[in-house]
Amino acid sequence: MIVVAPKPKSKPKDFKDDFWKKKDLKISIGEIVEKEGAVSEKKTPMGPTPKPHVTDLRSWDFKLLSRYEPFYAPFCDMCCLCTFGKCDLLNKKGACGIDSATQQARIVLLACNIGTAAHAGHARHMINHLVEELGEDYPLDLGYNIDIEAPITRTIIGQKPENLGDLKNVISYVEEQLSHLLSACHTGQEGSNLDFESKSLHSGIMDDLAREVGDLAQIVALNMPKGDGDAPLIEMGVGTIDSSKPVVLCIGHNVVPGASIMDYLDETGQEEDLEVCGICCAAIDISRYNDRAKVVGPLSRQLKFIRSGVADVIIVDEQCIRTDVLEEAQSKNTAVIATTDKMCLGLPDMTDKDPDVIVSKLLNKEIEGALILDPEKVGEVSVKVAKILAPEREKLKLLPELDEVQKLALECTECGWCNRVCPNNKPMMEAVVAAGTGNFSNFEKLYLNDVCYSCGRCEQECERELPLMSMLAKAGEKLAKDEKFNIRAGRGPVQDVEIRRVGAPLVLGDIPGVIAIVGCSNYPDGGKEVAEMAKEFLERNYIVVATGCGAMSIGEYRDEEGKTLYEQYSGEFDSRGLLNIGSCVSNAHISGACIKIANIFAKKPLEGNFEEIADYILNRVGACGVAWGAYSQKAAAIATGVNRWGIPVVVGPHGSKYRRLLLGRTDKKETWKIKDLRTGKIMDGEPAPEHLIYAAENMGEAIVMTAKLCIRPTDTGKGRQIKLNHYMDLYKRYYGILPPDVHLFVRNEKDIPITYKKDVKEILEEVGWEPREIPQEPSLMGMDGD
């Protein structure tokens, strides 16, 4: 048995000021009770499922899966995982006996496991490094406004983590579970699609744990913002990078190498001499560590920016990095340093070499690049190399001239395959043909807002081997100069005081919902749609939280006055708040906020009490995730994790390629039955939320569905009116009529929005609607299966 966290040490937590006392508050935060100036720990009762094994939450999963049945969309008819195969599973079983649905569920589990392993590997690397630097006893102190510091860990593990050593133990538990889950993917193991799904859900919450402890470790050890709603604005966009200085670009997700670069610059007094910038989550996390670091933008910028040649040195750490980064960098004489075991790129391990020797070998091209697993050395080597290399590379920071682009474009045979292989079938061929006549406007349309997210598939297909991405980058160069945006630095967790403030209005429906805009940049039509979605919900008084590439895309939109959304809206967790929570790993704080609502507002104990907490969130907390550009296995794990907590997610059309959605059926009334825990009565419920993970075909559909998925059975009449009003408004805008399913969400006449009273009454009359009893404590607990 693994002991995950030691019992709390007897020393009470010191509040850093007299915040609580000034206000003469007597508060109860979980197990900590403050009385007359003294703080004491109260023994917390342990719930039924501390440290659940793979099957311990299966009954909860099956309840979710009977309401939200798996919808499979095979990406491939075949299975090619063992030497029995390939097996064609179209209306046939494979040689091992597996059928198509079970195979899809198996692949979903595999994807979730890969995602969870990525976060767990990342967290393990970081925690080990920080423990080595600071010791296991380094305290987990998030300041005086956050006492429920690790809601996911408390709920799943059953204990409050006190220090970095405790986080290490959490990761050990995750790794143990992950090995069981991965094992289930082996040929001849699990044979039920539903059990595979249950395991995926388990993998999802393991991912939650890994993300939570990973982010907490970096927040406390690297002194990142601790729930600061007023975190600084960070410069973002290609136009903010001063390419006359040496430029170091960090790509990936692990903050440690980037933080070392910032440290080295500070220690050597060179902070003004270099530009340090990042792409993807590494950018967000380095700027949480040091606000001088700049954010180039989301993942969609990667190839375009590398091709621009602006970076003198590229530091890669882990996850979502182009695997041909070395080849691409070499074509621009950009030095590459790999920094983690996850991505070594075939480079020689220079970890034990003297930094000056590494610098010399890199500059003299004695090595193609360097693998340096010591972050401190990465800091020194990257700065030294960039400084020497930058002047030599000046000419390489130029893309081909426009007349050269035009000349290249004339070689196009108009075969059209660039359009066909584009994931979004964007009109690349038309852009090239127009460029041949000297008209670059079509290229510019593709460039703007990352409508083309530069995956480069078109180039691979081009029979003339035209450098389409470089041509695009050149055509967009003048636009890139104007790309000067900002993003609020990732603030980390939501404060307990904020939860106290919004708990009631959220659960009662007065604040219509929390919209979490998360994930990657595999957008169907550019990043602007993400900003438009955020703006729509902010204007409607929702709380909008964001992470990762989604948070960056939101910052790349300016209104008529030239302000980004981060400048227009407060960073507090409240109605009309726009919060950049942080990077991918910071997604844990979004589920964490929902868990804290159950704990702080509703006094539900957390420790070992997963099902009750998830049941509370599913039925009461109007939160919905939007992963408009989700592409990775990590995104699959994140979405599956939040689903198990009872939070629905809307993904973009590419999300259908994950092969599985969890869809409710409004026509199956029996699936919506709930138990009113107050009366013990089983009663008819409502389809709220209607789906657990849903793929929308375009932005309009996504906005409308997101508003609908914030409806919860516990909304008060006023709250329901507010939510329905938004749903109906949006439906009318995109569909031209009022939603024909509105009657499903009207429990009695008090739910009808005043603005639409007459119209709704007509619909109700038409469908023979009758008022319904409202459950006081709707729950799936105590239903069949318990």
């Binding site: 919808f71 499979y72 969309a73 095979p74 990406f75 491939c76 008819d77 075949m78 064609d88 599973l89 179209l90 209306n91 198509s100 649905a101 066909r420 292989v421 994931p423 079938n425 169907p524 059309p653 590419h654 259908s656 390629k657 959605l661 869809l663 059926r665 026509d667 849903y694 793929a695 929308a696 075909e697 375009n698 309009g700 559909e701 569905m705 995109y734 569909y735 031209g736 009529i737 024909p740």
Partner: protein
């Protein structure tokens, strides 16, 4: 490439050995005629003219019940088609259930005709029906070859496609 017309429009959606049957407007008409309870599913890529009108003519000529996906509803409702709106994944989810009684409550459909859904999510939906809905056939009349359908138009340029749709819509 010689067989460009029958390589899936996005070539990597090829899922396995089974490929859609390439159909002409005449064959498509035969499929519609033969079906007892066909359903026309119109997506957001055909909400503007000329395909808006062409699609409307097809629905009217064959008296097809219409489901619209995403935000295609408004355009076709304005055309007087009286469509029902579902998300593309929602309608596919209903179509794969042999117990579902169809949009008119008269029984599950035996032919689903797709036009104008976003290619790759449409392809995923067609894969769902290929695997889990043996009770119905799928036909796509987009200008793209959909290998996951039972029957599909080939990849075409606009002009040829408009002619194809015109033929089905007017005879």
């Amino acid at each position: 490439m010689a067989n460009d017309r029958v390589i899936p429009w996005q070539p990597t959606v090829i899922a396995g050995p089974k490929q859609a049957l390439l159909v002409t407007p005449e064959t498509a008409e035969l499929m519609i005629k033969k079906a007892k309870r066909p359903l026309l599913i119109l997506g957001p890529l055909v909400k503007e003219d000329p395909v808006l009108t062409l699609a409307t003519k097809i629905a009217e000529r064959w008296d097809l019940p219409v489901v619209t996906t995403a935000d295609a509803f408004k355009a076709f409702n304005d055309k007087g088609l009286n469509p029902i709106s579902y998300g593309v994944v929602e309608i596919v989810n209903l179509l794969k259930d042999p117990e579902w009684q169809g949009v008119n409550g008269q029984g599950q459909h035996d032919l689903a005709i797709f036009l104008g859904c976003v290619y790759y999510i449409g392809s995923q939906g067609l894969s769902t029906l290929k695997h889990y809905a043996p009770h119905l056939k799928t036909l796509t009349i987009c200008k793209f070859f959909h290998s996951n359908a039972d029957a599909s138009f080939p990849n075409m340029k606009d002009e040829e496609w408009f002619n194809y749709l015109e033929k089905i819509g007017t005879g």
